[in-house]
């Protein structure tokens, strides 16, 4: 229960921030002829919906206990690793990058190094055969 509250509040906070951003940024969008609202109309409505629902959720869960679970470090590490994917793709190529992510993911999930290597190798081979040879994906 407590861990769900942490994520619920995080999402609520994210919604508030995104809602405010949408409201602010949509003010810079042009209007239609005659002063009618144009491209800014729906982002403004959505910004308001996100702001209100985010605040509402925050208010609803304000007294519930919230605690972290302990695996957040692994999640953060995986996300930071994912952000490196474009850089790795440019240096290693498609199938080695896929294999690397599969192996790293398996390692983070607790698979032994040999098993992780096998997972990575299997995925790299699969990607090479299906995506690169059969479908002709560049990379």
């Amino acid at each position: 229960m407590g861990t769900m509250q942490v994520w619920e509040r995080t999402a609520a906070l994210l919604a508030v921030v995104l809602g405010v951003l949408a409201l602010l940024l949509s003010r810079g969008l042009p209007q239609m002829e005659g002063g009618y609202p144009g491209p800014a109309l729906f982002p403004s409505i959505l910004g308001t919906v996100l702001l209100l629902s985010g605040l509402g959720l925050w208010w609803q869960g304000r007294r519930a206990p919230a605690r972290l679970q302990g695996g957040e470090g692994r999640v953060l590490l995986a996300l930071l690793g994912l952000a490196l994917a474009p850089w790795l793709l440019g240096r290693l190529g498609l199938s080695p990058t896929a294999g690397l992510y599969a192996a790293a993911g398996a390692l983070l999930l607790g698979v032994r190094p040999r098993g992780a290597l096998l997972t990575g190798g299997g995925v790299a081979l699969l990607v090479y055969l299906i995506f690169q040879r059969f479908l002709g994906v560049q990379g």
Binding site: T3, M4, V6, W7, E8, A11, L14, A15, L18, A22, S26, L29, G34, G38, P39, L41, F42, P43, L46, G47, L50, S53, G54, L57, Q69, G71, R74, V75, A78, L79, L82, A83, P86, L89, L94, T97, A98, L100, Y101, A102, A103, A104, G105, A106, L107, L108, L109, V111, G115, T119, G120, G122, V123, L126, V127, I130, L135, G136, V137, G139
Partner: protein, 493 residues
């Protein structure tokens, strides 16, 4: 190329097998199966891609029962409604009989649902031909409101939908063609690619979820598929039982199709209602399982009725399929029936083949494969999924920028999922949001911002009235309905 070409038939068979494997393994879902398959299917042309997609969707729900039979863990939420009963049948009688009891009623439910799909979609299309942007606006709004109101927390539903629709506003706007929220990034001018978002929400977030809960035991021991007379138990005995229960089969199929047709409902709700009705009548485990599995498969076809005829998704799976239709350059709705009549017939045919031939015949084969795959640890499978997510997101457009989006949207999907937000509504926001804006802006430009024009045409007025009735009815119904569901849901979390 037609659906009867060797390539399309092969895609249908492989798609069915692939969907069955993903549906059967607890922890892997039908949405994950489609998310990982789409980057490959995009390269294969509409007929082959749609054949494979129909194969995946038609069999994934049925295959959820394989996990119930083998390891007492439902492969999909739709099978959870009668897992205990089905596993009990497998233990008391034989796994082959339990699989037959799942496969044959699933095929019959799917077939009856297909009948309703053909009649219902053609009827709805005839009606939809009268629609202008005003009617479509109300119709899309109906789909959105019913989706938001169908989840336990309206606030969470609104937030999830709002985020999805906000993501869809990135890129050129439909009214003036002015770029919005692109921050000078050319890769964002065309908007966020729907398929990249799908892989992030259902693939990356799934892996991150497993990373967070790394220490929880997720593996179950399979009991195997032992026993003699497999053919007799799977086909003959299960077939005899189905014939004896033919009345229930028809009733559950009709109920399942109707529930599937309703926006926001889906296979799992159909299965719960149908199996609970049988429990209340004091049904035996075989009967409860039969009613549940018939209804959830009929609901799959039911959800396709508004999706094909009106372009309105009934659940997450059909929302993804609609996105896939659009990615293939096909607009669902009357235009699909007008311009691609042959494709519509081929979709029905593929559904028929998947239901009548692949489900019963492939069911046992899938169970054998799944029985072997269940021995692979889930953490190994999830590692492989992460690698495939990276490839899938890149392969869609050959654009490394999509990998940054994958990380950002994966993080968003993970936070939402952990907080108990319905990810299906984010997808719904991405699919229906742009349609709502487009129909609203077109209507307003046509009438020089006369808001009353939304109530001037009789059909538009009727649909507006339906929106009001639906909101009032659902809000009234929720007061009793969700109050009884909320406690178990929180205990589960």
């Amino acid at each position: 190329m037609s659906f009867l070409s060797p390539e399309a038939l092969l895609a249908l068979i492989l798609g069915s097998l692939y969907g069955a494997i993903f549906g059967a393994i607890p922890g892997l879902t039908a949405t994950l199966a489609i998310s990982l398959a789409i980057p490959i299917l995009l390269f294969l042309g509409p007929q082959v891609a749609l054949a494979a997609l129909i194969g995946i969707t038609a069999t994934a729900i049925f295959a959820g029962d394989i996990g119930s039979v083998l390891v007492r863990m439902p492969g999909t939420p739709a099978s959870a409604a009668y897992t205990e009963e089905l596993h009990e049948v497998a233990k008391k009688r034989s796994p082959a009989f339990a699989l037959g009891l799942s496969a044959l009623p699933s095929a019959i439910g799917s077939l009856i649902g297909l009948g309703f799909l053909v009649v219902g979609s053609l009827g709805l299309v005839a009606l939809a031909r009268q629609f202008s942007s005003f009617e479509y606006f109300w119709l899309v709004l109906l789909g959105i409101l019913s989706g938001i109101l169908a989840v336990p927390s309206v606030l969470k539903g609104a937030l999830a939908f709002g985020l999805g629709m906000l993501l869809a506003t990135i890129g050129y706007d439909p009214a003036l063609g002015h770029p919005r929220f692109t921050f000078g990034q050319p890769s964002l001018l065309g908007g966020i690619d729907f398929i990249v978002a799908l892989i992030a929400f259902f693939g990356v977030s799934e892996v991150l979820h497993h990373l967070l809960h790394k220490n929880r035991p997720a593996q179950a021991q399979t009991e195997g598929l032992k026993g003699r007379g497999i053919f007799r138990e799977y086909f003959q005995e299960a077939g005899k039982f189905c014939w004896k229960e033919r009345g229930s089969l028809v009733r559950s199929s009709v109920l399942g199709t109707f529930v599937g047709f309703l926006p926001g409902a889906g296979s799992d709700i159909a299965a719960w209602i149908s199996s609970n009705l049988r429990r209340m009548q004091g049904g035996r485990p075989e009967q409860v399982a039969l009613d549940g599995t018939t209804a959830n498969n009929a609901a799959v076809a039911g959800a396709w009725i508004p999706a094909m005829a009106l372009g309105l998704p009934g659940d997450t799976l059909t929302a993804i399929l609609l996105g896939m239709f659009l990615a293939l350059g096909i607009t669902p709705g009357p235009e699909l029936f007008n311009k691609h009549g042959a494709l519509v017939v081929q979709i029905y045919l593929a559904f028929f083949l998947a239901s009548v031939i692949l489900m019963p015949l492939g069911g046992y084969l899938s169970a054998l494969i799944v029985n072997a795959l269940l021995k692979i640890p889930m953490r190994v499978l999830m590692g492989a999924v992460l690698g495939l997510c990276v490839v899938g997101a890149y392969a869609v457009n050959n654009n490394p920028f999509d990998l940054y989006l994958l990380a950002v949207l994966g993080a968003l999907g993970f936070v939402l999922r952990q907080g108990g937000f319905p990810l299906g509504l984010v997808v719904l926001g991405m699919v229906l949001g742009p349609l709502l804006e487009q129909h609203f802006m077109v209507s307003m430009i046509k009438t020089h911002w006369n808001l009353l024009s939304f109530f001037e045409r009789p059909l538009a007025l009727l649909l507006a009235f339906l929106n009001v009735v639906m909101v009032v009815a659902v809000l009234g119904f929720r007061r009793g309905w969700w109050a009884s569901l909320r406690l178990p849901a929180e205990e589960r979390a």
